[in-house]
Symmetry: C2
Subunit: 254 residues, 2 copies
DNA sequence: AAGCGCGTTACGATAGGCGTAACTTGAAAG
DNA sequence: CTTTCAAGTTACGCCTATCGTAACGCGCTT
């Protein structure tokens, strides 16, 4: 068997697998039993039992064609969670405020599992806008999400930076040395602006959200199409985001 | 032990318990290990193992004081779920539209486990408004949510109506005969208006959302303070809700 | 100091639940 | 129309994951 970790018995494996199943269904709507089993490297009977259990509780729903989606109980959990996770609850109205003023898409991102993870967002009402999605992951090394990296202890920082940096566009930084230098600059100026590092033609501005001890717990971000974003806009975004960031820190009680 | 059902082994018990744990944390933010164990009638070690597993995966988060809340993974699941559950995805913008026009709170409710369950909502921007909450349950027999009952087969209907009807306010119907008569009326007129049956001083209007076969899969609802709601407003709400209902049915492909 | 209740650890016993193998069904291929 | 294949499902005996008991450490309260 593949025991990934020393695998102490202080954790329940079948629950672990069931979480894998849930996340798999979340990621692949209308997935079938066999696919889930394959994706997870588990047997079909096992996954069948899991899915049945989840279905009885409304966490997933089986369509009459035999495909699975998340169910209403998952909605309930998620709604409850957004009011229980302080960071998200507090950031949401602030993200909206910044988004309204900038008239562009805003996001709140944290470090999760060596990647940056979107946990809250706002999109303005306008035909062309950057698309954001809660749960979407991006590398920490590309785009303005680098701010999340910039304030870590140098050692941890290096640990978080993979050997080879993923190249998303031709502007993505792929040299470790250059990246570290860039992180230095970010730390000094307190924000990061990136032009087309993640997607061509997009400008992204991020500012760190600080905890009481100066550690970075999240980043607030504005993303906009490059063609309509002047230098002056970027400067405005930075100001807006800095305000937002300190407001969030304050409301968190720091 | 209490094996509620014949309890075949085609379902995984530990997963079932872990769902109980999740829902318990959802309902009681900042709950402690011992409380969860008590609520569920399980032993502490068992629940500890579950919570640890859930925590490692970000479904719950343990504060430094030892209390548990839902975590970021739950948010991700929930967001994904709202886009995967057709009914909710389609209803959301429509609920908002109705809510804007009525300038009052709107809800989408389904039957779940013998109760009515709110699975989507919209609240207008105004100081005084009815508070709605995704996940909140109400009896099927009180308020305008009765529409959910009105179109069921008489047999099933009677089965859903408990012996003694819970009294929420002095206007709540508590006589089974009267209730059945009321349901008849609702079926004939196609909507339900209730005055202060659930909460004093609140008016609630509901219209059923029909499936292709005429069965009711949900109800759309407007809730408003009685003092600012004239007869003419109620009539407007009914029209708005009927439009909304058929729009939802149509978008669901019926 | 003593007592209480919480979270946690250790460990041996047990039944929960796992995988193999076989069956059903329905669709695709020949 | 038969054959083949794969997906979903069921059955069941074995094994180990996981359960509960009991005990421990720790911080508060009395």
């Amino acid at each position: 068997m593949d025991k990934r970790q020393p695998s102490k018995t202080d954790t329940v494996q079948s629950v672990d697998v069931c979480i894998d199943v849930l996340l798999n269904v979340a990621k692949n709507p209308d997935i079938r039993l066999t696919e889930v089993a394959q994706n997870l490297g588990e047997t079909k009977p096992r996954i069948l039992r899991m899915l049945r259990t989840l279905e009885r509780r409304g966490l997933v729903r089986k369509s009459d064609t035999g495909t699975y989606r998340l169910g209403t109980t998952a909605i309930i959990l998620g709604t409850a969670a957004s009011t229980q996770v302080d960071l998200v609850r507090i950031a949401n109205p602030i993200l909206e405020e910044v988004g309204q003023k900038a008239n562009e898409t805003t996001q709140l991102r944290i470090i999760d599992n060596g990647e940056s993870l979107c946990i809250a967002k706002f999109e303005p009402m306008r035909d062309l806008r950057v698309q954001a999605m809660i749960g979407r992951r991006r590398p920490l090394t590309a785009g303005s999400y680098k701010v999340l990296l910039a304030y870590l202890h140098p050692q941890v920082q290096l640990q978080m930076i993979p050997e080879t940096l993923p190249r998303l566009t031709k502007r993505t930084i792929t040299d470790r040395g250059k990246l570290v230098a860039e992180l230095d600059k970010i730390r000094r100026q307190g924000f990061c602006v990136s032009y087309g590092e993640v997607s061509e033609q997009l400008v992204s501005v991020s500012v760190p959200v600080l905890a009481f001890d100066g550690s970075v717990i999240a980043a607030v971000n504005v993303g906009a199409p490059a063609f309509r974003t002047q230098k002056s806009d970027v400067d405005r975004f930075i100001v807006l985001l800095k305000e937002a960031s300190s407001k969030i820190s304050a409301r968190l009680g720091w």
